[in-house]
């Protein structure tokens, strides 16, 4: 009996001792208003405002009528919402030559962007695959030449290309512009695809060869289906790049085949009558809408693909 009486308090004391001696335990408590959090979220907030404020002004202005704009309160929300400027920007705004708004430019841009994107990605993906997996003779030299191409400012090449296109009879046509876009997309896209394909396990490629698949078989049935993220990255890069292009558009097309960006410039800069700020804002947002939508739809894949493509060089 006395034995028990002695052991019991001793063990209780041991437990208390352990609790005391154990110190911190479990997840470390985090303070919401720590200096780190204030700094982090503060910076993010400032940067977000910096980028979002102009967009806000654009949207707000595009929804106001001209009398309201003349009041000069550019940050105040519209008193009376009107979609008139959007309709005008799309269908009746005047460029120097015609008055059918941006719609003509939009369809031109679609007709330029879609084939350019498809053609450049189709060629560049095969290029990258060949460079990464079929180490043919001179592959490295070819790759270096291609990469050097990526660093030459393309303004240098504008005039020679004008001459070349004129000589082959494609100057001023959409086909000419599509070819130019495809060629200029080649270095960066090939680099992108080559790096992605080199990061894939070599043994996969060997297994496919043992299984009897050839150059195209391996590409179409093994490699391409595994490369969705990098294809999405390429599509985003090309769609935004080609859609936003102004220089090639204005140089290599004629007024009736001008892409949307050129058309936008002509609307905004036409100097007859009053400056219709609301129409200009609406037109600008309309032009930027396509890349914006592409980003929103594929943002997640984009980040994943960029990360995947960037790992190995």
């Amino acid at each position: 009996m006395s034995d028990q009486a002695v052991t019991l308090p001793a063990s209780a004391g041991a437990v208390a001792n352990r609790l005391e001696a154990s110190g911190p335990r479990g997840p470390k408590p985090r303070h919401v208003f720590s200096r780190r959090n204030i700094f982090l979220y503060g910076t993010l907030f400032v940067v977000a405002v910096y980028y979002l404020l102009p967009l806000y002004v654009m949207v707000v202005t595009s929804l106001k009528g001209m009398p309201e704009i003349r009041l000069g309160n550019i940050f105040s929300p519209p008193l009376e919402i009107t979609f008139e400027p959007w309709v005008k920007a799309w269908s009746t705004a005047c460029t120097g030559l015609n008055c059918d708004g941006l719609s003509r430019g939009f369809w031109n841009s679609v007709r330029i962007t879609v084939p350019s994107v498809l053609l450049s990605i189709a060629i560049a993906s095969v290029n990258g695959y060949a460079l990464a997996n079929w180490r043919f003779k001179g592959a490295d030299t070819f790759f270096v030449i291609l990469i050097v191409g990526a660093f030459i400012p393309y303004q240098i090449m504008i005039y020679p290309i004008v001459i070349i296109l004129r000589e082959v009879g494609l100057y001023g046509s959409l086909a000419g512009l599509v070819i130019v876009h495809s060629i200029f997309g080649m270095p960066i896209l090939t680099l992108l695809f080559r790096n992605y394909f080199s990061s894939m396990p070599e043994e996969l490629f060997r297994a496919a060869r043992v299984d009897g698949a050839g150059f195209w078989g391996i590409f179409l049935r093994i490699m391409a289906p595994m490369s969705l993220p990098i294809f999405v990255v390429a599509i985003i890069l090309q769609v935004t790049g080609i859609w936003n292009d102004f220089l090639f558009g204005v140089v290599y097309t004629r007024p009736d085949t001008y892409p949307m960006t050129v058309q936008l410039n002509n609307i905004v800069n036409s100097v007859q009558g009053v400056k219709e700020y609301n129409v200009n804002m609406a037109a600008t947002i309309l032009t930027g809408l396509v890349p914006l939508i592409v980003y929103f739809i594929s943002g997640k894949l984009f980040v994943r693909g960029i990360a995947a493509g960037a790992v190995k060089g």
Binding site: P201, A207, D211, G212, A213
Partner: protein
Amino acid sequence: MTEANGTSVSIQDLSLNFGAVSVLQTLNLDVAEGEFIVLLGPSGCGKSTLLNCIAGLLDISEGRIFIKGKNVTWEEPKDRGIGMVFQSYALYPQMTVEKNLSFGLRVAGVARDEIAKRIARAAEILQIEPLLQRKPAALSGGQRQRVAIGRALVRDVDVFLFDEPLSNLDAKLRAELRVEIKLLHRKLQNTMIYVTHDQIEAMTLADRIAVMRGGIIQQLDAPQTIYNRPVNRFVAGFLGSPAMNFLDGQVEAGPVFKTDGVSVPLDRYVFDGTERPTGACVLGIRPEHIAFGDAAKSMPFSASGSVEIVEPMGSDTLVWTKLGGRNLSFRVEAERTLRPGDPVQIGFDPVRASLFDAATGNRL
């Protein structure tokens, strides 16, 4: 060894250079029909490279390769009648197991019912029937490797090539699959060429082992021969775990092996040649060939020393002592409790030892 009724794979004077680096040097290897050959060596010895050359995945610089009597030196991998299993499994991630298995057949344009038949057979042999509709990502490592073996199986090939197929698996699975591969070989009786750096895999699986170093086959023999009569010091040191003990010394007339205060009579040792060499040499003796205690006293050579370190390994215990100033390990039963400092009597029969020339490393 099993039904050696012809040559399945024959490699003649094969060389491979990457630029100025010579990876394989005039290598010759004949593999009999139905034989299980293991290419064993440390990393960078050219064993995987040799396998890739046989598969046709690497262009060779010199020599010829025959498979089933046909010169396949310039053939594409698919036309060589080989199936290959890779270390990383190399399953096509976007395809189900069934599609993975059938890919090669679909490429070759095999009829659909024939494909189904072959997949059913392979799936049954490898016991992967319940996995057929899964994607590789949903499989465990062992299951993936089974599928990878199945991919070679369905192609109905003469020669199986394994490129370190078990290296990515944990120790337990490795042991399991090792047995399965051995059973598979028993069942199929195909020629198999198996690359590994794991000597246990090599010893357990092989009919013959080719030990490679620096792009050269050092020794090509049955596992027991390689283990007991290694042709040089490299082979002796590479095979065996725990490793062989080496003692530097001299052979003197008698013949007798001498090193610091130790002399081992060699009259029972079987020399490789007829002449009795003398001069600097290395004596190698495996830990399990060293007798201990009373048994040691009856050996042609015996000496006493004291225990330095004891390494219990479960099934037995490795004990380190010193002989002639050099560390020497020997095995005792796990039940023996020895402590550092305990005096020990050790001895061995020189017939179990190996003598190597100190300069060339070749067996004497």
